[in-house]
Symmetry: D2
């Protein structure tokens, strides 16, 4: 046994030994992080070198009225954050949405992707490989799906540039977010392709996937769940709850989300979708690094016949209700609040998340349109 910093064990005692070694190395006292309420062995598949836990303040917003295909009714949405004013803002949006009949939400597409890159001899070899893939789809599918109970290979698309050939696999992954499932299945499929064609696998991820980087491919083709949400709010609701007129909201959306985002070459045309995603992701054990592609949302607002129409499009919302951090105690509880823990709940959860993002967009757009953003932060935040 190496002990101290080099201890690689997973028990409470191992964790404590490491924590003390860290205290000693750094000269800092680690009290708060050592007081957590679960057995470290529950997290043995979630982290290595554990020394404790970070406690992130958890609150809720809602009731959030959702009219989805899977989520129907009123939900409280747990959010973990350290950014003052965030929950108050989203909560105001929930109230406004409720008065407008709720958020209408549905899922347009649902596929997780992974794109290995191969080295081929030249473009013609690449074409042969592409053709080989097309004519051996059953074999590739069988290999890929041999690695997973829940994953199904539902699409393959190739992109070639010189000696680099990218094969973008799309999977249905059930209620898991599915990134690891897709990686493992793609590696197996890639090995079949290697053997059948002489192409050389260079990386199981060739960055045409694209995981945890903002990208045009995900923006245009989607990754995980592509979800859309909208709502129509009567003028009086807008005025009373949001202190703005529909026209002011529309103008702010126009100049900020559309013109401003175009001017800055932004891959997201929204106010702060990433805030809602990060807070819900942390609360519920999602992968917070996937807030990156999640952030690429487009928010629109229009004044229609005196009412306010608002919408949000999320091309790449990557969430799951099984696997990953979802089974940790606090995170499970957070999912439970929405009735979204476990199998059969991922689509429902995605719809609720999108509706919560819409609520946040609505409220912040109003705050910005009426010049109260800074004052809200002064009053509620740091």
């Amino acid at each position: 046994m190496t002990g101290g910093l080099k201890n690689r064990g997973k028990t409470k005692a191992d964790t404590e030994e490491r924590r003390k070694a860290v205290e000693k190395f750094s000269g800092s006292k680690l009290g708060c992080v050592s007081s957590y309420a679960f057995d470290p062995q529950l997290a043995e598949k979630n982290i290595e070198n554990m020394i404790g836990a970070v406690q992130v303040p958890l609150g809720f917003v809602g009731p959030l009225k959702v009219n989805g295909d899977f989520a129907k009714g009123e939900f409280l949405v747990p959010m973990a954050t350290t950014e003052g004013a965030l929950l108050a803002t989203v909560n105001r949006g929930c109230s406004a949405l409720a008065l407008g009949g709720g958020a209408n939400v549905f899922i347009v597409k649902d596929e997780m992707t992974r794109a290995p890159v191969f080295r081929v001899r030249d473009l013609r070899h690449g074409r042969e490989v592409t053709n080989w893939i097309a004519t051996h789809s059953a074999q590739i599918m069988e290999a890929a799906e041999s690695t997973t109970k829940h994953g199904k290979l539902v699409g393959v698309r190739t992109f070639e540039s010189g000696r680099s050939l990218f094969v973008r696999f799309s999977f249905e992954t059930g209620d898991a977010m599915g990134m690891n499932m897709a990686t493992i299945a793609s590696e197996k499929a890639a090995n079949v392709i290697e053997e059948g064609t002489g192409a050389k696998l260079i990386s199981v991820s060739g960055n045409v996937c694209v995981d945890k980087k903002p990208s045009g491919v995900d923006f245009i083709l989607g990754r995980g769940k592509t979800v859309v949400a909208d709502a129509t709010l009567p003028e009086d609701v807008v005025k009373e709850k949001l202190k703005a007129t529909p026209e002011e909201m529309a103008e702010a959306a126009l100049r900020k989300d559309l013109v401003g985002s175009a001017m800055s070459l932004s891959l997201g045309q929204n106010a702060h979708v990433a805030n809602m995603l990060a807070a819900v992701f942390i609360a519920t054990g999602q992968d917070p690094a996937q807030v990156v592609e999640g952030s690429m949302g487009m928010t629109t607002a229009e004044a229609v016949d005196g009412s306010l129409y608002v919408s949000l499009r999320l091309p790449a919302l990557e969430v799951g209700t099984v696997g990953g951090g979802t089974k940790l105690p606090c995170q499970s509880e957070a999912l439970s609040i929405m009735g979204c823990l476990g199998a059969g709940k991922a689509k429902k959860f995605a719809e609720i998340v999108a509706a919560a993002c819409l609520a946040g967009e609505l409220s912040t757009l109003a705050a910005q349109a009426t010049g109260t953003l800074a004052s809200a932060h002064k009053a509620l935040g740091r």
Copy 2:
């Protein structure tokens, strides 16, 4: 008093009341989230509607050897995650870096931005406003800086499109990440511009800032800290620690990070920078939604005279060591591990974060180059 779900109080009792109301509303038991180790009133500026805390497993990587302008020496880096294999991966990278003499890091630029959008009458009016800003910079600076002790307005750049005029303010924000400081100061400056020119402020954030969305402006001009890091590893270190040759690493970086990212129109040319950022951000009380722009890193690898040269460029790393979530108990402890808590530490912290990202990039690139990514996830993760 409204009570239950509508209770807006900040005390422990309020928090408990709300938690019970949530339990009742949702029919779910909230045990883990209610066992946290700090007084909710400590978080009164960090969250509203608090019902408890989420416990995110915390571990560490390191020692990470950093040769920075501000961070010099070996550091343990706290990371909070639920993604198995992440810390093991980064840790391997730390070992390799250490054997290569450590990561060389420095900060290229350090400015936080906010860009209000104004409605002007037409382009000529917009030009007058731009000119007015140029000739009234002292007045604008005075207004902006009247709102902050630590912030300094160091740059103004305008962008015009028709009746929309964007004024991108750049601030030095000391050891705070500085977004709220910049927002409050920009609002004041914007009011001065409104009064002086007749331009109408439409939104204090006009999405040319750009906060929490991936964007060309941040990629090219930077936001927060632009940090670069590199290292040179002898061939034997690469082979022994990373199980790869420098040439294999270079080829994987070429086809994945450069060709693949180009093919997918990715705004990040890296493997998984967002992972390291998310884990460190959550551990240390940063704003996790800012992982979005943080993720836009470029990783390069070259075989040079038999050794491996690796580098990382982070154009928009937004971190602070005061304010926000940094003062919460667990988060403070995490910062303390690196000697990065409080005033005078933000640049040091940014350098350590960049070095940790480089470690993670190095290790994952090797795992992908040698075909062990999927197996690592199978062994260590879910």
Copy 3:
């Protein structure tokens, strides 16, 4: 009759009258533009308000050896330009390619697109429209194809954002570039959709097409012909013809085309593809505004076993050999030089164009890698 500047006639006399009116209005003598060799009525579908013709110097490069699916053999390629050194550069590339066995070229995809935008009541209405389109594809296809002899509707893809619904139609357009064909057919299809669904057509082009603007959609999904070309050149050819080593070429391609293009967020990773396209397009009566999307090419160069491997990927090469300017006398002659005039030649022509672009890329990359770009321009250009 209005006469003078307002004359709208198409005869030689009308043209002359207009020219004289322009001379009078502007006080400038128009001699060169009035001496052209064709009857203006031949151009009656190509221009309005004709006053003459501009004479653009025409040269040729080649022989260019092409190993395509449709273009096989050696070709002289006509190029019209006023940019000194361009033809000399491309010509050098042709020589080098010939010594390496020629350029291997093929077409990956061949579809012209047009994407009307509709206003829908809300997202659910948009979903209904999308579903209606899916279940009425025969009717839509019939309407679209009723407008054209050669066009076939081969794909429909919808994108929704709030009350805006984009329907991207893909057409096979035979030997025509096909933009007008696609527009006319899309309008008819759009009218069918309007009638069937209550969606309101806002613009027959909704900028998800995307014509004459650089765009992610065209870069990723292609528009017109997606063509790839490559070649392998022995080291001695590289050294003698291009005055560079394969390694120097690879390094220039790496730092310039990949790292540099990434750094500048370029939608093209090449040296000057647009130059070759513009010169060939003008010579052969293509639409020169489509150089825009044509320019989005990716050039790679690698040193492989001592040789130089170079490749080019053109995702959106929009060319035709019938229609548009191809039937004008000079332009027809230019197409004839390559045996590419008229029906059945568009794919052959596209392959030759891609090979010529590869030749230009190869040569300019060498000039830049060896520091002779500026001197070439000094010697040959202005």
Copy 4:
């Protein structure tokens, strides 16, 4: 003497010999291209391997009323095209603009750029080079400006990624478009940097310039001339001339130029700016490959107090009135029509070009908003 295809001479006889050799090689008769009205030796700096000239139909639009800083009054604008309906469309826009008082235009920025890429040892070396450049600006400026009479080095900006260092030089280039001037000056400056720092010049163009590729850098920072134009049209003018209402125009601009362009990740938010640019560029001897970056324009339309406000922003309009193709006979004549030939005219010319683009945008937006685009093409085009 080599003769035939290999003849490299510049005289009329050489040109004829080559043309005949091309006829023989290809078996095609080249009559039209051989009947041109100028001495080939006039084009000796504009082309190599000349065999004749291509005659592109030339027309005009206007009078176009321009209220610029340099262009004031009414202008006829020459356009060379083979795309039917283009001039008619732009002409309609000119009429509408005239009735609205003309296009207001001005130049926001005017700098040509070139960005060599250097190989440095590592990031620290790169930082030393950056610092060296900052402290040797006089020496670098002197070297750069020693190569040119008209060019002035007015800015330097460095971008680093690992061992690649990009130095983006900005030049004022007088009335020349300035690309070659900037290239030659940059090479000289780069040599000074090489000698002073040990950095190795890899390519005088490192694709952070960015020439002839669409790019974020040019979109955001500009290249050549950044020009803006706008106009306000009374409702009756819009209705009578454009057959649309201001509200219809605004809606088409919103859904197409803003939402659609966002959805397709377009680097241009316009209808067809490239069309006007290509036609004017070919007519006047500009570099038609630079239509690429020119195409990145943003068009907006708003209904304001019953009138229609339209605007266009062109971040990268690269034009000149001396050098390049401007001195060829036809092209000179075309410039003369606008009083834009020669020294002191480049800014005036740029303003007219931008105004012409606005006219084309206005008219095509109306055609699309009212559903007459396809019918116009059917009636006037092929």
